[in-house]
Symmetry: C2
Subunit: 446 residues, 2 copies
């Protein structure tokens, strides 16, 4: 249909794409109103694609009858996600709205932690029996096209006790002889996901194997469900977002930036900032031990920010690299010695480079604009050069080891945020600085 053929009248109906575009700037009443304007198919698609947090908000501004309708439109794994996020009262109310079969499934899924493979999986997968023929299996999968299965493109071969024996794709069935038995064409070397595996690890499995769906297995080898790759894209993105927000020195926001209320956001940000601020107070304590030195050579004080920031920057850099390597499974806890060895070399080289720049800065600057310290410029330059070398090396090692240490004692490595490392390194940086200055400048400037 060319543009000229388009009917000249406009439709009062809203498209899903229009509503999606406007979504962020609408209040909840406007959202409900817009949503009601969608035609039924588009409405369903729109609702299913909404982030869980928006689904709950939207539902709570709809009538009970509408709530029941839309809740039932969701697959059990998606309604379980939604109920996971709802308040306890909402949850009780909403569970009551489901039909009996879904209610049982959702209750099972709710028993899993939200971040486990079990919490991600769908229980609606296609089961085939090992002694079926290929033709029977194809016919069976074909008949399931109407059922609300997650996918009919993979048949999971189970024995009577629900143990997973193998898997066969519809495509492979098409390629096999119709009279062959499923057990003879199925794959038996399977990548399996234990039900309590963390979703971040599940994401890594998918990234490594390029598969579309993975079976979830309990401790006795019984198959519980499947995780599909389309859910994993969200997981991978969500986990990266959490890590990034923690690296930036904030709690994870758990919702889109522009949709969290400002007050909630301040709550998530104030905690860490206050802790860091209090930690940073030790710098004042450290520096005041050297008040008499500062009094004699004020230039020492004016260089403090340069010194400590070089430690903070190199520390942030190292910790961020190690945090990400750990999240991707590239560096594990027992790689700590390899990480340490690499960072000793990297930190020394980086320290050497910055130390030389620092040395040059003092010597050249004093030659160009001589100050009180000009007669001892070389000595002052050496103080800065050696200090920067030490501080950068120390910052790098602290930054690299802190995430590994945190994992070792059971915390999230991403809590080794750039600001935390910087704060940690600042205090020691000042002690290295004044310690070096006292040794090198005693008898000349000090």
């Amino acid at each position: 249909m060319s543009e000229l053929d388009q009917p000249a009248t406009f439709d009062a109906r809203l498209s899903g794409a229009d509503l999606r575009d406007a979504w962020r700037v609408l209040d909840s009443a406007e959202r409900a109103e817009g949503f009601r304007l969608l035609d039924p198919t588009e409405g369903e698609e729109f609702f299913i694609e909404l982030p869980t947090i928006d689904q709950i908000a939207l539902l709570s501004s709809l009538s009970p009858a509408e709530q029941r309708f839309w809740l039932r439109a969701l697959a059990p794994d998606d309604s379980a996600d939604l109920l996971q996020e709802a308040t306890p009262e909402q949850r009780t109310e909403m569970i009551a709205m489901l039909d009996e079969a879904s209610r049982r499934e959702v209750r099972t899924l709710l028993a899993y932690a939200e971040d486990d493979a079990g919490g991600l999986m769908s229980t609606r997968f296609a089961r085939v029996r090992p002694e079926m023929t290929v033709d029977e299996a194809i016919l069976y999968l074909r008949k399931q096209a109407d059922a609300r299965l997650e996918t009919i493109y993979y048949g999971y071969v189970l024995d009577k006790e629900q143990h997973l024996l193998g898997v066969v794709s519809l495509r492979e069935l098409f390629q096999a002889k119709g009279s062959a038995l499923v057990q003879d064409v199925m794959h038996t070397e399977l990548v399996q996901v234990p039900e309590e595996m963390d979703q971040e690890a599940v994401g890594r499995l998918f990234a490594q194997h390029d598969l579309v769906a993975l079976p979830v297995i309990d401790a006795t080898g019984r198959m519980k469900g499947i995780v599909t790759v389309d859910d994993i894209v969200d997981v991978v993105q969500e986990e990266a977002t959490e890590d990034i927000q923690k690296i930036g020195g904030s709690e994870a926001l758990d919702a889109p930036y522009l949709e969290v209320t400002v007050l909630e956001m301040v709550k998530k940000r104030a905690g860490w900032l206050t802790v860091l601020f209090i930690g940073e107070m030790f710098t004042a304590a450290a520096a005041s031990r050297y008040e008499s030195e500062i009094q004699r050579v004020t230039a020492l004080a004016t260089l403090m920010p340069l010194i400590i920031s070089s430690g903070g920057n190199s520390g942030s850099q190292a910790s961020t690299l190690v945090i990400r390597a750990m999240a991707l499974g590239e560096a594990r806890l027992n790689d700590w010695l390899r990480v340490l060895r690499r960072e000793v070399i990297a930190g020394s080289l980086l320290g050497l480079i910055l130390g030389l720049v620092g040395f040059a800065r003092i010597v050249l600057w004093e030659r160009a604009f001589p100050s009180e310290i000009a007669p001892h410029a070389m000595l002052m330059g050496a103080t800065i050069g050696i200090t920067v070398f030490g501080v950068v090396l120390w910052g790098t090692l602290t930054g690299a080891m802190l995430p590994l240490f945190l994992r070792r004692v059971g915390f999230d490595p991403a809590s080794a945020s750039a600001p935390l490392v910087a704060t940690f390194v600042d205090v020691t940086g000042l002690l290295i600085y004044f310690g070096t200055a006292v040794v090198l400048l005693k008898g000349t400037l000090l």
Copy 2:
């Protein structure tokens, strides 16, 4: 088979899983040797799942005959990825090893930028015609099971000029009446990917729509290929890694942390650190304007690190949150006013909290351990409180606006790394600090 039934002899063969576990600690000769020990099917799976960078390294330690064999085992989109990463000489050699048809396909794919949708896509998708019946389409897709198509589960409906008219899944074909026409059962409201769309944006499309494959379209509406979600998991993870490494103040490593040589890593890290170090030198220039004040009240100097770190930390936090919101498409360039408004409120509240803590620190500390400034503790406390409020607000606003500004002038917002923001804020922080001190303390301490 219970454990007792296992044959008691051991096989000299290596499994793919064993090799994968040992991979990171093997040198290139050992890797090639281990790889040759795999049985052919496992070897193929292993090779296909290797990261591109390892595929190239492995290939270059194999014989030309082996190289040719393994190169031909890859799908064209994967060999294009591999050739993208190879040196120009390797590329010429390897292209010559492909068969004629693959060579043509690979050349087409190589013409796309690596990070575009076109660079991600596979050209091997299943085409169906609108006037086919459902039964004919099923039969056709079934026959394609042997062909090296990316997926046979979706049939793309094209007209004679290769314009995309619609898409129909095998599952939907199973559900439809066999005599219906494809054009009557196909979906026509399609999510399409323009061929030059950035892969980060493609990742967002998949995260939003929970789809398994998306068609790639050129400017005239002709279908060029499909992008599948299993490739997108890698893309999303890769893009997050790049952002995280940049936020940490380093160039993207482009390879696993433990596999980059230390020297290469130092190269990627030294540049930014040096730039930041030179930028930070301005703090010394700023502070030395106030040497006489420092001489009179050394306590002013010892509090410098506390002041500037509060600005740096709040700036890192804000910039990280905004960078991630932009990467997820939650905050766009023309949201800048909304971001600014939110951060003015958040920054003021955070500044208020930290300012009060800072005020309390001085007043209580001087009451507990009186120093030279004790008689003017309230005034000194007010100086710190007001300064911290100003510095935190300023840090927050700078951190939040810098990523938006960088995007506006065509740079990557993630370059607004935590260390860059901190450095940027440090200099201004000192000026705010000493400016406030001079105004408030003139005539008493100064």
